[in-house]
């Protein structure tokens, strides 16, 4: 896993959206408020979510444990998670 530089919020959000789009190609983020549970809105099932974890983990260069999953519920808390974790990990 490549070690990445710390991400700012905008970068993290953009990374999240990109990753989700890869899994759900026609994901319409206009429907997703920052505090919505995006899994429900965009209909990600557990496998999708796992893929998302894979992607984020790889692209951000951070380790994401199962215990971290509750922190990946909304776009805003996921952004926060990535920003913190990339800063901490580097």
């Amino acid at each position: 896993m490549s070690q990445m530089r710390p991400l700012n919020s905008a970068e993290a959000l953009s990374l999240i959206k990109e990753s989700i789009t890869q899994i759900v190609p026609d994901a319409d983020f206009t429907l997703v408020e920052p505090d919505d549970k995006f899994r429900d809105v965009l209909e990600l099932d557990s496998l999708d979510f796992l893929s998302l974890v894979e992607l984020l983990s790889e692209r951000a260069g951070v380790l994401i444990d199962e215990e971290d999953y509750p922190d990946l519920t909304t776009l805003s808390d996921t952004t926060r998670f990535l920003v913190e974790r990339t800063r901490r990990g580097s």
């Binding site: 099932d45 557990s46 796992l50 894979e54």
Partner: protein
């Protein structure tokens, strides 16, 4: 000298038993004299000679069975006057000219009589020239090893029974690896081979042809014929639906008229953007058929997933996301292994009876984002370790959603599992995919108050349901199945 040969005493006689000699060596015989008694299938018959002379050596012992044409004795050529003819001259002793001309008489008798068996033909061909011309190629072919004949070569080891069984079960022998001696394909190999693929749609030959010509998937057509058979009219109806009602309006008795659908309409109908509609209709047809034909019964139980959850967490902690398992993998494994314990739910209802399947192939209901549903198959799911099952699951779901499933991944399911847990519902009471006889449903894994050992606690639980075909099984069987699933999920490490 000529040979006295085993004669052909009937059109159906290939061989005869020399029963008795009526002459001895040195004895004088005349043409027409009885020489021996030959036993045929019908009777014992006295056989005569066609030459006059002195009996020479007897070549065959009484009691011996020999083919027609075999020399039995030698008759030494002598000019014996035929007194009975009342003529003194050597008229009779004159050797008759051979039938084929040009050959000396003796060879005619020594030559074995033509036989019916084709293999012997060349050696008894009457015309020498012809015989010679045939000899060479015949020799080559006889001694050459059997020519491999394409794909069939690899299944040469399969005996007739195996071949027959393969035909019956629709198994392509060339795809099997024999486990018998020398790699021979055994009966068990065939029996363990994948059962025939998708259950054949009942359709009239004309409907089948029409569907092919029009590019209509027969499986997606609802049949209105005898026993739900698809008929031409059904195919046309399906086409019209595809065309969004844009096909020619029918002012007459719908299904009864001839081929009225113009080609243009047909071509337009088969464009890919209509695939969604096609799928919707296929689902509609299949589910309608299921509900029409199958008397469903439903069972439900709530399973404590604490053990499974703990085990998963433990496993996953050490793994990168790529290697992690999701609960669905365990649920599927449990569903598959339970089917092994309760085989009455794993198989097909065909021709009025339940036909158990030899493998457990789980159909996985996968909802597509654009709508619709596919049920790709994990073959022999009960034998796959959870990791392999997980890998397979990910692949299938991915390809299903990209529309890249292979044929083999779409067919052969013996039991289907649907999980709507990710959609947040707690229980799903499914509709069985005919001709399967059961469908297992899992809801969302949720935390619920749970009483165990007299203590109330909060535990992750999942509601497992079973929809089963009451023609094939009764509720007790279904109950045993769900109980098994529960039990298995309590020992995830053993899955």
């Amino acid at each position: 000298m000529t040979a006295f040969t085993m004669p052909s005493l009937g059109a159906d006689m290939d061989e005869g038993l020399l029963q008795e000699w009526l002459v001895s060596p040195g004895e004088r015989v005349h043409k027409g004299d009885v020489m021996a008694v030959v036993e045929t299938d019908k009777a014992a018959i006295e056989v005569e000679c066609f030459e006059s002379g002195t009996v020479g050596r007897l070549l065959v012992e009484p009691g011996t069975r020999v083919p027609v044409g075999t020399p039995l004795a030698l008759i030494e050529d002598q000019a014996v006057p035929d007194e009975r003819a009342g003529v003194g001259e050597a008229m009779v002793s004159k050797a008759p000219t051979c039938a084929t001309g040009g050959q000396e008489p003796a060879t005619r008798h020594q030559r074995p009589a033509p036989r019916r068996k084709a293999a012997r033909k060349p050696e008894v061909t009457p015309e020498p020239a012809l015989a010679a011309s045939r000899k060479e190629p015949t020799g080559e072919h006889v001694h050459a090893p059997p020519e491999p004949s394409g794909g069939a070569d690899s299944v040469i080891g399969a005996g007739p029974l195996v071949r027959h069984l393969a035909v019956l079960r629709g198994v392509d022998l060339t795809t099997l690896h024999g486990t018998g001696p020398g790699g021979r394909i055994t009966r068990a190999d065939v029996e363990h081979a994948q059962p025939p693929l998708a259950p054949k749609v009942r359709a009239s030959p004309y409907a089948r042809r029409l569907a092919h010509d029009l590019g209509v998937d027969l499986a997606a057509v609802q049949g209105t014929g005898d026993g739900g058979a698809v008929r031409a009219a059904d195919v046309r109806t399906a086409m019209r639906t595809l065309a969004g009602g844009k096909g020619p309006e029918r002012t007459d008795r719908g299904p009864l008229t001839g081929d009225t659908l113009p080609d243009a309409a047909i071509r337009r109908d088969s464009r890919p953007e209509d695939r969604t509609d096609t799928m919707r209709r296929a689902i509609a047809d299949l589910m309608s058929r299921s509900k029409r034909e199958i008397p469903h019964y439903y069972l439900s139980t709530t399973i404590d997933l604490t053990a499974a959850d703990d085990w998963l967490r433990r496993i996953n902690r050490a793994r990168t996301p790529t290697d992690r398992l999701v609960p669905a993998a365990l649920l599927l494994k449990a569903a598959a292994v339970a089917a092994r314990e309760v085989p009455a739910l794993n198989g097909y209802w065909q021709n009025g009876e339940f036909v158990p399947a030899s493998e457990i192939n789980l159909g996985i209901a996968v909802s597509l984002r654009q709508g619709g549903l596919l049920a790709p198959v994990i073959h022999t799911a009960d034998t796959l370790p959870p990791d392999a099952l997980m890998t397979r699951l990910k692949e299938l779901v991915q390809r299903a959603r990209r529309g890249r499933l292979r044929g083999s991944e779409m067919t052969g399911a013996t039991l289907t599992v649907t999980s709507l847990g990710d959609q947040g519902v707690e229980a799903v009471f499914g509709v069985i995919h005919p001709p399967q006889v059961a469908l297992v449903g899992f809801g969302a894994v949720v935390e619920r108050p749970w009483a165990a050992g007299g203590m109330l606690g909060v535990r992750p639980v999942v509601t497992a349901t079973l929809a089963a075909d009451h023609r094939a099984t009764d509720g007790a069987v279904g109950a045993r199945y769900l109980t098994a699933v529960d039990r298995l999920l309590q020992r995830p490490e053993e899955l």
